[in-house]
Symmetry: C2
Subunit: 289 residues, 2 copies
């Protein structure tokens, strides 16, 4: 009943570790995370990614740069990483400070090291159904989670709520393509959709990625639906040590009673996103070899 | 009741002609169509495009190359066109002979001269919602046709039948984006969709792009829907001079009685596609200037 992303991510980590084990440390693919400024949430995300690398025996580096960094200086760092043969994956943590242009930065990353899938060439290949695309980690993690849990999506109606560049739109591209673990009928709904609940209720598979805490209540979900909750919303909660707790875009308790399968928050999509970052870095390494 | 693509294309041609008129001939943007081999349909399409250029006073050139051409030689031609400052638009007519790799060829075209929108960078920018994308001409023509006929698509349900790289998928990206003449709720259905009619009947705007003659019958279309027919299917017809006639993917006569607006075939989407090719070439010229 629960799509346990944490357990599956662990499995995938173990597979990656096993593939890296025979490779001498100095030849293993390195992942570099570029962190500009001192956004607290970004620090937490990057640290989780670094920890995951460590767990699987993948070399990694956190490149911390000041918020005041010029765009030119950032592009020089990326150029250096592009040219470094020990670096197979480059990730620039978003959001960037306002004065930096995220599109220009994305285009500076060598497409074959763009393991976060942010370069327009990778988005374009994804849209075109080219298997050489690097797919953004959250959509890829959702596809893999469905596959590994034997959820057949072919011909089923996937309703994706949210149209962001890192979740909704690339996921729609991924699942609508011809091919294995795809071939879905896909609807994208969003803030301008009229009568959103009429769509979400019809979904065989509902993906909630709108960033609204507990937006999807039981009456908005069909009986037996598979529910994927991408939301990671912080809700003030003085009873917790951190002063907040994470909730998804789905009202978990009530929806869980109707859903056939559901991802928890935390422990659902989040860990899969990180596992896919490592997996994409391994893919970059395999392609090179 | 009829969305007259032919008349609208004429209007747009007149606008382009007016914008080009004050520009000295030798400074006007040139469009080059590259035609490899002697596919009869491709010849017809390219000739229509050349005729349209002539009508609006846009310099154009048909570069005809033998079917036996090596990929390397084709890439050299494209390189030369990329470097030619008089050329603002490059179009490689598809399909290419089997031994040529369409993706490699698309990636060879300078993205800022890629007026057919086939380079992965342009597909990627389209997916990302970047206004600097060159959008493939058929989807762009459909969006413009809806806009110029005051069909508001914001919040309306657009059902796109077909998931090709030149129509279905890029159109879905275009219409689901935030912004003017977009913000639609979009569903993509295709050959693997179960109970396709249940989806098509729910559409406020139905786009038929599956290449099946007269597939959409009246019972598959909702009362008052706007119907866009992208199909261009040849049906044997000995009574005509050519021995065939063109029909769309929609059973026109019966669907026209239910639809609020409908495109005819021919004279609907087809002329708009050509108008957008000229429009994109003018855009390339404007961006340069």
């Amino acid at each position: 009943m629960i799509l346990d992303g944490k357990a599956l991510a662990k499995e995938i980590h173990a597979e990656i570790a096993a593939e890296l084990a025979p490779v001498p440390i100095e030849e293993r693919p390195k992942l570099v995370a570029v962190l500009v400024g001192d956004d607290a949430a970004s620090q937490i995300y990057v640290n989780s990614k670094m920890r995951a690398c460590k767990k699987v025996g993948m070399p990694s580096e956190k490149l911390e740069l000041p918020a005041s960094l010029s765009q030119e200086a950032l592009l020089e760092h990326i150029e250096r990483l592009n040219a470094d043969p020990s670096v197979y994956g480059i990730l620039v943590q978003l959001p960037l400070p306002q004065h930096l242009n995220a599109l220009v930065v994305a285009q500076a990353i060598a497409p074959d090291k763009d393991v976060d899938g942010v370069h327009p060439v990778n988005y374009g290949k994804l849209l075109m159904g080219e298997p050489s695309a690097f797919v953004p980690c959250t959509p890829l993690g959702i596809q893999v989670m469905l596959e590994r849990n034997n959820v057949d999506i072919q011909g089923r109606h996937v309703v994706i709520a949210g149209r962001s560049n890192i979740v909704g739109k690339p996921l729609a591209c991924l699942l609508v393509q011809k091919g294995k673990n795809a071939n879905a009928t896909v609807t994208v709904v969003h803030s301008r959709t009229k009568n959103l609940a009429a769509f979400s209720r019809e979904a065989d598979i509902l993906v909630a990625a709108i960033g609204q805490p507990e937006f999807f209540t039981a009456d908005m979900v069909g009986e037996g639906a598979v529910v994927i909750d991408v939301g990671q919303n912080r809700i003030d909660d003085p009873a917790t040590p951190r002063g907040y707790r994470l909730v998804g875009d789905v009202a978990y308790d009530e929806v869980a009673e109707k859903a056939s399968l559901i991802t928890p928050v935390p422990g659902g999509v989040g860990p899969m996103t990180i596992a896919m970052l490592l997996s994409n870095t391994l893919t970059a390494f395999r392609r090179y070899a």
